[in-house]
Symmetry: C2
Subunit: 709 residues, 2 copies
Amino acid sequence: MKKLIVALLLVLPLALHAESLKSPNGELELTFKVQDGVPTYALNYKNKEVIKESKLGFELVKLDNLMKGFTLVKAEKSSFDNTWTPVWGEVKTIRNHYNELEVTLNQTSTDRNILIRFRLFDDGLGFRYEFPQQKNLVYFTIKEEHTQFAMAGDHTAFWIPGDYDTQEYDYTESKLSEIRSKMNITPNTSQTSFSPTGVQTSLMMKSQDGLYINLHEAALVNYACMHLNLDDKNLIFESWLTPDAQGNKGYMQTPCQSPWRTIIVSDNARDILASKMILNLNEPCKIKDTSWIKPVKYVGVWWEMIVGRNSWAYTDDLPSVKLGETDYTKTKPNGKHGANTKDVKRYIDFAAENGFDQVLVEGWNEGWEDWFGHSKDYVFDFLTPYPDFHVKELQQYAASKGVKIMMHHETSASVRNYERHMDAAYQFMVDNGYNAVKSGYVGDILPRGEYHYGQWMVNHYLYAVKEAAKYKIMVNAHEAVRPTGLCRTYPNLIGNESARGTEYESFGGNKPFHTTILPFTRLKGGPMDYTPGIFQTQLNKVNPNNNSFVHSTLARQLALYITMYSPLQMAADLPENYEKHMDAFQFIKDVAVDWDNTVYLEAEPGDYITIARKAKGTNNWFIGNTSDENGHLSKLDLSFLDKDKKYIITIYKDAKDAHYEKNPQAYVIQKGIATAKSKLKIKAAPGGGYAISILEVKDKKEMKGLSKI
Amino acid sequence: MKKLIVALLLVLPLALHAESLKSPNGELELTFKVQDGVPTYALNYKNKEVIKESKLGFELVKLDNLMKGFTLVKAEKSSFDNTWTPVWGEVKTIRNHYNELEVTLNQTSTDRNILIRFRLFDDGLGFRYEFPQQKNLVYFTIKEEHTQFAMAGDHTAFWIPGDYDTQEYDYTESKLSEIRSKMNITPNTSQTSFSPTGVQTSLMMKSQDGLYINLHEAALVNYACMHLNLDDKNLIFESWLTPDAQGNKGYMQTPCQSPWRTIIVSDNARDILASKMILNLNEPCKIKDTSWIKPVKYVGVWWEMIVGRNSWAYTDDLPSVKLGETDYTKTKPNGKHGANTKDVKRYIDFAAENGFDQVLVEGWNEGWEDWFGHSKDYVFDFLTPYPDFHVKELQQYAASKGVKIMMHHETSASVRNYERHMDAAYQFMVDNGYNAVKSGYVGDILPRGEYHYGQWMVNHYLYAVKEAAKYKIMVNAHEAVRPTGLCRTYPNLIGNESARGTEYESFGGNKPFHTTILPFTRLKGGPMDYTPGIFQTQLNKVNPNNNSFVHSTLARQLALYITMYSPLQMAADLPENYEKHMDAFQFIKDVAVDWDNTVYLEAEPGDYITIARKAKGTNNWFIGNTSDENGHLSKLDLSFLDKDKKYIITIYKDAKDAHYEKNPQAYVIQKGIATAKSKLKIKAAPGGGYAISILEVKDKKEMKGLSKI
C-alpha cells in the first residue's frame, strides 16, 4: 500500500528565498518565502487566495526570538501515498496522500536551525515547526507562537469565544469583522477568556466567493492548545497558545515539533466534512492489540440528574465531605440519588432489552455533595461507592444480561488526585468488569493556575488515555482539550466532549443550528459524546422546575446518531420517555455505531447536513439530516446503494407542522422498499431533521405489504 | 501510662476577655486576651518576657478576614501526661506532659467561630488554630497567616534567610536588628527569597538576660511552611507562609487546623537540645507494624561525585536526554561514572567488612546527563539503570554479604513525574531488595510556579512517605520541606536534608560553627542526613580541581555521629580515605545509630555542643563534641555511667596543634578505663571536637594493659 515517492533533494543556493508546492490534484498551491529574514507562507485553492502571505515564528522566554533573521538553507520535496485502516471510523480505509515541502531555516545571528514541514493534501494544508537538536537550541520556553493565517476577505465565520478552560459555548455566525462586537462570554464553572477577538479552533469559515475554510490543529501532544486571535483591521488570525500558571506557553526540548496547523479548504462544504486530513496528520496507531476496542451504544443514569430531577449526591446533610472521614451510612439519604442499585438495574434491563452495550452510571461514588468550585484536592477516590450502589451485585446483574456498566471518573479537574488514584481506579475497573470510562474535568484545574488547555493538561489527558490502554480501557473524556485526531494513534480514546453538548439543552438550550455546525468544527478533531436522543424535549415534563426545552424536533434527535459521528453513542433520555415512542426508538435500536462507508449528501454550515453511512460489515445504510431554524428540503438520490440489492427503507421525519419549539414531538414514520434508483424528497422542520434506515432485504418475505418509496 | 486529668470546663460570661495558663512546673505562663476584638497571647518564663503581647489572625482571599471583631466565648483548660515509646530516637521513652487552654472565639459580624489551642509544656509552648466545620466557614483560602511573635529584646539570633525553595544557607549570628544588613542570599539551584528581614524556622535566639528561645512549627500537614518576617523597628516576627503559583497561601476545608506554632524556651541551652516538645505535638505513630523500620549506617557512591572526581552521568556525549529514546549503549562512556558495577562492589565489600548496613548508589539510573535547570518534566523513570549498573548482579552480591543497596530517587523536583512513577519505583525496590530510598528535589518545582515549601509540595512529601510505608520503605528526602516532628507519626521518614549539609564543604565550605547551631535549629524538627565522616578534608587530594576544604578537624567529623542525631548515618568519605585512618575509623564502626538515653553535657549555640548517648539495648555510651572556630575546653563528669560497671573508654580528639584549616587531620587516640567517677578534660581545637566511645567491660581481660583515664 505504501508508496513513498522518491524525495527530490534540492539543496539550493543561498539566494534561495521562495518555494512552492502543489497538492496531488494540483488544485491547492502553497508558496513559502523568506521575506527580509521572516518566513511566510500563502495558500491558494483553484487560484483563489485561501491564506494570504502570513508570517511564521516564535517568541521565546529569555532566549532570542525565532521570528526574523532567517535564511532558507534547504528545501526538500517529497510525496506520500498510502491507505490505512482505522480501528473504528466513518469509512473502512483512509487514503493518506500528500506532497511535502520541508524547509530548513537558519537564523544567522544565533546559528539556530528550524524546519517547517508542509504537507499539502487535496483537501488542505498541514504544517508544523520542527526543532532539531543542536548546540544552540536544546531547551527553550515559548512565550508565544506567532503563526499567522491572513484571511483573504471578511468571511462568514462560525466561531466560539477563545477560552483557556472551556469550549462549552454556543456558536456565533458572523463576519470576521463582527467577532469583536458579537463576543458573548456565557458563564461556565471554569472559564478564562483572553481577547475580544479570540476564537477557538476548529474554526469554520465561508468566503463570499464560496470557499469553505477550516482552521484547526492536528496531533496536539505535549504542547499548549492553540487559539486564534484576530487582528480585525487586517483580518489576520494569529496563534495564541494557552499559557501555564506562570504565563509561559510551552516547555520544549529538542528534538521536538509543534502540532500541525491545519487548513482544510474546498468550494464544496461536503468536502470539509469528508476530509480525513487531521487523522492523516496524526501518527499511526500505537496500540498493538486493538481487539478490545469496540464502539459502544449506551444508556445511562445521567439525564435525570442533568435535568435536575435526581442528584449525583447521596445526601443533602453534608456541607462538605472529607473522603474517608465522612460516614455516609450515618447521613440521611436525600431520596433522589440516581445511582442506586434498584434504578440502575432498571437501566440494565432496558439496555439488555434494547440491544445497548453499556449503562453509564454517574454519581456512584462518594464525594458528590461537594465536588467542584472549592479548589478541593482530594475530591474523589474513584473506588468507594455510595451505600446504595452495590458494585458486585450490579456487575453480576449486568453481566448476566450481557451488558456492561460504564465507569464514571469525575476528577473535578483535580488532576494530581486523579493521577494518584489512576492505577487503582483502572484496576478496580478491570476487577469489576468495566472496560470504558467517562471522565470529567469540571471546575478550575489543580495544579492551581494551570488551564484546561495548557501543555500541562494536554500532557495529562494523553497520559490518562495511554495508562488506560495498559488496562484495556476505553476513555471518553469530558471537559478535556478538544481533540486533534489523536484517536488515530490511540483509538481507545473513543470519545470527548469538548463542546457544548446536549446537556446545555437543559441549561437554557443550544441554538437550533448548533448541530449543523459541530460536524464542521468540533468533530474535525475526533468524535464527540454529544448524548443525543432526547425524546421528551419539554424538560418540565421531567422536572417541573426546569423550564428549558431541547432546541430540536424528536426526528432530528434520531438524525444525530448519523450526523454527529461517534463510535460511542448514548441514548440519553429516560427509559420511560423512550417507552412512549417505541416506534421512533426503533431507529436508535437499529442504528450502527461503526461504519464501512460514508456519503456526505448535503451540507452547508449553519444550515443543514445530510449524511448517509453504511454500517460496518453489512449492506445496511443509515441517513441523517439536521437542519437549522429554517428547516430544509432534501432531494436525495440513493445511487450509493448496491445496484443489485433491495432494501427496506424506514423514514423517521418531522410531521408537516413539526417545529423545534412549538411542536417538537410531531413525527411521521414511513416504511417502504428502496433501491439504488430511489429518489427521496424529505422536508426537515425548523430545528428539525430526519433519520432513515435502509436495511438490505435478505428474505423477500420482509417486503410483504411494502411498496416502493 | 495515660493520665488525662479531668478537663475544667469554664464557660465564662461574655465579658470574658483574658485567660492565663501555667506549665506543669509553673515556670512558663501564657496569657491570652481578646483586646478590642483582636486575639493576642504572651508568654513568660520565670517571670521574664519571652513573647510580648502578640496578635493572632488570618487574612483570607475573597472572604472577610479572621483578624478582628472577635469575642471570647469559651475557654477550656485541661492537662495531659503520658509517656510514649518512639520507634527510634535519642531516648527510649518520651514524656508528653502539658497543660492545655482551648479558647473559642466568635467573630460577631460574620458569625464564625475559630478555636485556638495552647499546649504549655515545661519546655515551651505550642499553639494552633482550629477551624470547626460551620455554616459560615466551610472552604476558605488563606491570603496570609498573621501570627506574631513579639520579641522582648534585640536578641542574638542564629538565622538563615527566608526562602520558599531552599534552606541550604550558612547561618548568620547577629542581633535581630542586624538581620536586614546581614542578609546574604548565596546562590542555589532553586531559591526564592521574599523579604529583607525574612528568616526561616527553626529560629534560635538568645536574649541578653540569658534566655534561649526557639521558634518553629510542629506537624506541618497539608499547609504551607511558615517563615518569619521581622518588623525590625518593633522586633516583632510575623508568620509568612509559602505561597502557591497564584500567590495564595493555603486551601482549607473545615474542620481543619494550622500546624502548631512552637516556642521552646529555657535559661539553659541544653534544655533546648533536650526538648521533645515538637515530637510531642505530633500525632502518635500511624504505622501499625513498624518492625521493618530500622536505623541505618551506610556508605555510598556519592562523595566522589560531590567532590567532582566522578560523575552521576554515564556519558558526556549527550546535550540532552529523552528517556526511552536515548540509547545509552550507543554513547561513549565518560569513564568517570561512579555507579558502575565494579566500583559498587568495592563499596559493598567495604560496607560488609566494616559493619555498615547499606550502600547508597547515586547516578545508577538513566537521565543524569541532563537532570535539572531545564524545567524538564520526564527527567527520570526511577527504573532504568545505566548499561554499567547491573541491578540483579549487585543485589545478589550485596545480599551475599549481608548488605543492602540504598535506592536513590532524584526527582529533579518534577513531582508529577515522580508521582506517576512512584508505585512502579517502590515496587521495583521491593522486587530488588531495597528497603530505603534517598529522594531528592533539586531545582525548581514542577508543577511550575509551586515552591518547595508550599502546601502543594508539603502534601507531596508526606504522600511519598505514606506511599512508601505501604511498601515498607524508609524515606530520606533531600531538598524537601524542613521537618516538623512528623517522624513520630511516620517513623519511616528516617531522614531529611533540609539544611546546608556536608556537601557544601565541597562547594566552598560551611562556617566552622555550623554544626554547633544545627542541633538547635534544623534538628528540632527531625533527623538530618548530614553525611559526616570526611577524613580527607583537603578536597584537592580527591579532586585536584576542587579547592574547597572541610571546615572541621577529622576528630570533629567523628563527633558529628553523636551531636547530629539521626537514625540514618552515612560515613560519607571514600573507602580509601578511611583505609588510611583505620584507627580513627574504628569510632565510626563502633558508634550506634539508635539510643536508649541521651545526656546533653554542654551546649551554647554557635560555640559548642557536647552530648553523651547510650546505645540502644547496651550499656555502651558515646560522646561527641563539636566546637566553633575558637575551640572549646570541656570538663566532663561521667556520672551518667552505671556506678557498678567499668568501661573501656577511647577518646578520639584533636591533637594539640590541630586546626580545622591549618592542621585538620591531627588527632590523638587515647584508650583507658572509665567509671562513673571519671572526670575528663578535653580540648577541642578551633573548628574541632572530639568523640569518645565508652564500652562496657564484659570480660576483665579487655582491661589488660589499660589504666584509669
